[in-house]
């Protein structure tokens, strides 16, 4: 029952594919990735200090 022909190439994606349920939705990478299209801005990670005279 093949009713389709066109399918994009996912060779690049396959290498690093993480199952949906295991995607780290709280991580900075997800925030940055999705923020570009849903309008949330990239912020520095919570709990990273910017004070130059300390870490």
């Amino acid at each position: 029952m093949k009713t389709y022909e066109t399918s994009p190439s996912f060779a690049v994606a396959k290498k690093s594919r993480v199952p949906l349920a295991k995607i780290d939705t709280q991580g900075a990478e997800t925030t940055r990735k999705t923020g570009r299209v849903i309008g949330t801005s990239a912020r520095r990670p919570v709990q990273s200090s910017t004070f130059s005279s300390a870490l």
């Binding site: 029952m1 690049v12 939705t25 299209v37 004070f51 005279s53 870490l55």
Partner: protein, 748 residues
């Protein structure tokens, strides 16, 4: 000074104002401000209580998720364990239930012992230590008043922190640069101590008191740091270095990670041992009283300090740097440098940094060294872009599950579980990916993401319907045999993305299962006897309308999508389902246009063929890209193959640029600077528009050379713009390569 008030997320609490070392490069004691002489040695009980109260009220008013408190000095350990315990108890108690408390202490390490570390373990206080490198480097400055070295004591402290029982408290090492030290030796000495993080600090200086430059070089500090960068790279980047991470982040379009660099507004306030609220204390290097605000924790709220002109001046981003800096291409990364380093008697802080040449050389040097390892693979070509777009859709779906899942919406929960089940086999994962990569998947994912959290049940209903239909489509594509509950659309049917529409006339949820013979469909509330077999295939059948294909014979085979309810995402209405004759007409028009493209611009035609999967006829207007993912175009009403070929190429370029900008940062701080379009009117446009139009014109100009007029000027503007990131620069390089052949004769 305008703009919303920026709440403080980082509080530097001075718990002791004296130090047991006498470092000659210390900004507290050795520079312009001498206010330490009149401060209480230790913070008082009253100041501790008020500081905790003010912080809790600030976190509550601004609904801050987390606040960091850095215990600092002088030397904070001199406050003693009892005082430090009191500080930790008061802060923990005040913030309990309001915001997460991230407690840190920064020490010279001399006094650090298990007595302190057990206390820090109890309250989760993480510890950073100052160390300037190997013994020779450290002994240049970090000495006791009688000239004795502190180095062995600091190493002992670091050893303690590396023990298993305290390792989780270890924040790392902070090193102040002295360019007379061997950079590689300093770095190696720090790395030998296995710190979880390192940072390098430029010695505080101003235009009045410039930093030492023993060999006279204007870039001595950049050269030193770049030598460390090279060593860091050579050794496989064994430890994060905050300064480098910040430059790498801003080069890629991300935020700066230290107040020393970047345009991010400051969210930092200092509480002195006497309860006075001060601006960032490196200002003490500028002039006596430079950090003072006149406020204190007893009488004033943090909001009052946040509104202080001195604090606001460091929250203005681009507007807060000097005029010279505002037009500099590296300003996004350097941010004009640390505020203190801009000071000059007479004109205050309205100057570039006294480290300006160093900062520019550092940013450019890091960019040269690291550009190849930065950025997204999506810029490499159509396949990588398609993969990145799929990953974006999958992340949007996972975020939706966070918002909508587990809240009693059985339709969404069931569809999510089935999506997870589909992924358990390679074939299922591939089939689900094929569906989620469809260009119109983005439409519902974005609509649902933007509306999620509104509490509107209709949002979840629509999202659940789309997800269920996507899983059912994946089951068909992968022959997974899943039984999927799918809510029907108002007309009593449902659309299987990338495949076609099932029309049964049944209202309400149906159960859908793919078999070798076709789709078995029945209403969810009826038994197996009600099941109907729907033969799906490339031709219209009772209950089945397939998506049809156009193209072939030299043109790409494309889905002609005139069914997907989510295809209505162009700035104009989409056409209703075409008659077979209408499909044949489009097939012929596209084939003719593609033949022209292949003959005139074979490279562009081949790239477009790899990227395009779907076309959707529109009622009127030009062929264009919509707000969907990569790979689709709306077909307009161009006359003749030549016009359509050009429109296809322009649409493809526009869709590609939009897709690239959706998966990576081609630019940052868009809108902060004004640009002019060489082919447009006098009005200013943001960088994004200049870049997008140039991208489109370069691609289409290969077919229609008049579009290349002005492109060389546009490329030059893009190249010198501060907004450009490393990925933006890669796209620019591609445009230059494309124009190298096609732009000959074009006027700039």
């Amino acid at each position: 000074m305008t703009g919303p008030l920026v709440p403080f997320r980082e509080i530097v609490l001075k718990v002791h104002s004296r130090c047991d070392l006498a470092c000659d490069h210390c900004y507290i004691y050795e520079h312009a401000d001498q206010s330490w002489r009149t401060r209480p040695k230790s913070i008082s009980d009253e100041a501790i209580s008020w500081a905790a109260r003010r912080l809790a009220e600030h976190a509550s008013e601004h609904t801050l998720e987390s606040v960091s408190v850095i215990l600092h000095g002088g030397e904070p350990l001199l406050a003693g364990p009892a005082r430090l315990r009191r500080v930790c108890e008061e802060l923990s108690s005040a913030l309990n239930g309001i915001a997460e408390l991230d407690l840190r202490i920064h020490t010279n390490g001399v006094q650090l012992s298990p007595r302190y570390l057990d206390l820090f373990d109890e309250f989760g206080v993480r510890v950073g230590i100052s160390l300037d490198g190997d013994r020779a480097a450290n002994d240049r400055h970090r000495l006791f008043a009688d000239g004795r070295t502190s180095h062995p004591l600091v190493l002992r402290a670091v050893d303690l922190l590396r023990q298993d029982r305290y390792r989780h408290l270890n924040l790392g090492l902070l090193c102040t640069i002295d360019v007379r030290n061997d950079p590689a030796a300093v770095f190696d000495a720090l790395v030998a101590l296995d710190p979880p993080a390192v940072d390098f600090l430029l010695p505080h200086a101003t235009w009045d008191e410039p930093p030492p430059r023993p060999d006279g070089s204007a870039t001595a500090y950049a050269d030193w740091l770049l030598a460390v960068f090279d060593r860091w790279t050579e050794r496989g980047r064994p430890v994060p270095v905050r300064l480098f991470s910040s430059v790498l982040s801003t080069l890629s379009g991300g935020p700066s990670l230290t107040e020393s660099l970047g345009l991010a507004p400051t969210d930092l306030v200092v509480i002195e041992t006497d309860g006075q609220l001060e601006q960032v204390d490196s200002l003490k290097s500028a002039y006596d009283g430079a950090a003072a605000t006149g406020f204190d924790v007893f009488r004033n709220t943090f909001d009052e300090v946040a509104a202080h002109p001195g604090v606001r001046a460091r929250q203005l981003g681009l507007a807060g740097v000097s005029e010279t800096c505002r037009t500099c291409p590296v300003v996004r990364s350097c941010g004009g440098g640390l505020y203190t380093h801009r000071y000059r008697t007479g004109d205050g802080f309205d100057n570039p940094s006294v480290y300006c040449d160093d900062l520019a050389a550092l940013v450019r040097g890091v960019e040269e060294r690291a550009a190849a390892s930065l950025g997204s693979p999506a810029v490499a070509g159509p396949d990588a872009l398609t993969a990145a777009e799929l990953e974006l859709n999958r992340h949007l779906l996972a975020l939706l599950q966070d918002e909508l899942g587990g809240h009693g919406h059985t339709g969404w929960d069931a569809a999510w579980e089935l999506a997870n089940e589909a992924e358990r086999t390679e074939r299922g994962a591939e089939a689900l990916d094929e569906v989620l990569a469809g260009p119109y998947a983005r439409t519902w994912l974005l609509d649902a993401s933007r509306a999620a959290g509104s509490g509107d049940r209709g949002v979840t209903d629509r999202a659940a319907r789309h997800l269920a239909a996507s899983v059912a489509a994946a089951s068909v594509r992968g022959r997974l045999g899943l039984t999927v509950p799918v809510p029907t659309e108002d007309g009593g049917g449902f659309f299987l993305p990338t495949l076609g529409e099932v029309r049964t006339g049944w209202r309400g949820p149906v159960l859908v299962r793919d078999t070798d013979e076709g789709l078995l469909v029945r209403p969810e509330d009826r038994g197996a006897g009600a099941e109907r077999l729907i033969a799906t295939g490339p031709a219209d059948r009772p209950g089945w309308l397939p998506l049809r294909r156009v193209g072939g014979d030299g043109a790409p085979v494309l889905v002609l999508d005139d069914l997907d309810p989510r295809r209505d995402c162009f700035d104009g209405p989409v056409a209703a389902r075409l008659t077979p004759a209408g499909v044949r007409t489009w097939d012929a028009r596209l084939s003719a246009a593609w033949a022209l493209l292949r003959a005139a611009v074979p490279g562009q035609a081949a790239e477009a063929a790899r990227a395009l999967t779907t076309v959707t006829p529109l009622v009127s207007g030009p062929t264009r890209a919509g707000r969907h993912g990569h790979g689709a175009l709306g077909l307009g009403d161009e006359d003749g193959a030549g016009e359509l070929a050009l429109a296809l190429l322009r649409g493809h370029r526009r869709a590609t640029f939009r897709a690239l900008a959706g998966v990576t940062d081609l630019y940052a701080s868009d809108g902060a600077w004004e640009h002019r379009l060489p082919w447009g009117g006098p009005e200013a446009v943001p960088f994004s528009r200049l870049f997008a139009e140039t991208f489109e014109r370069v691609g289409a100009g290969l077919l229609e050379p008049r579009l290349l007029d002005g492109v060389p000027r546009a490329l030059a503007s893009i190249e010198s713009a501060a907004e450009l990131t490393v990925d933006g620069a890669r796209v620019l390089a591609r445009l230059r390569k494309e124009t190298a052949g096609g732009a000959r004769g074009a006027s700039g």
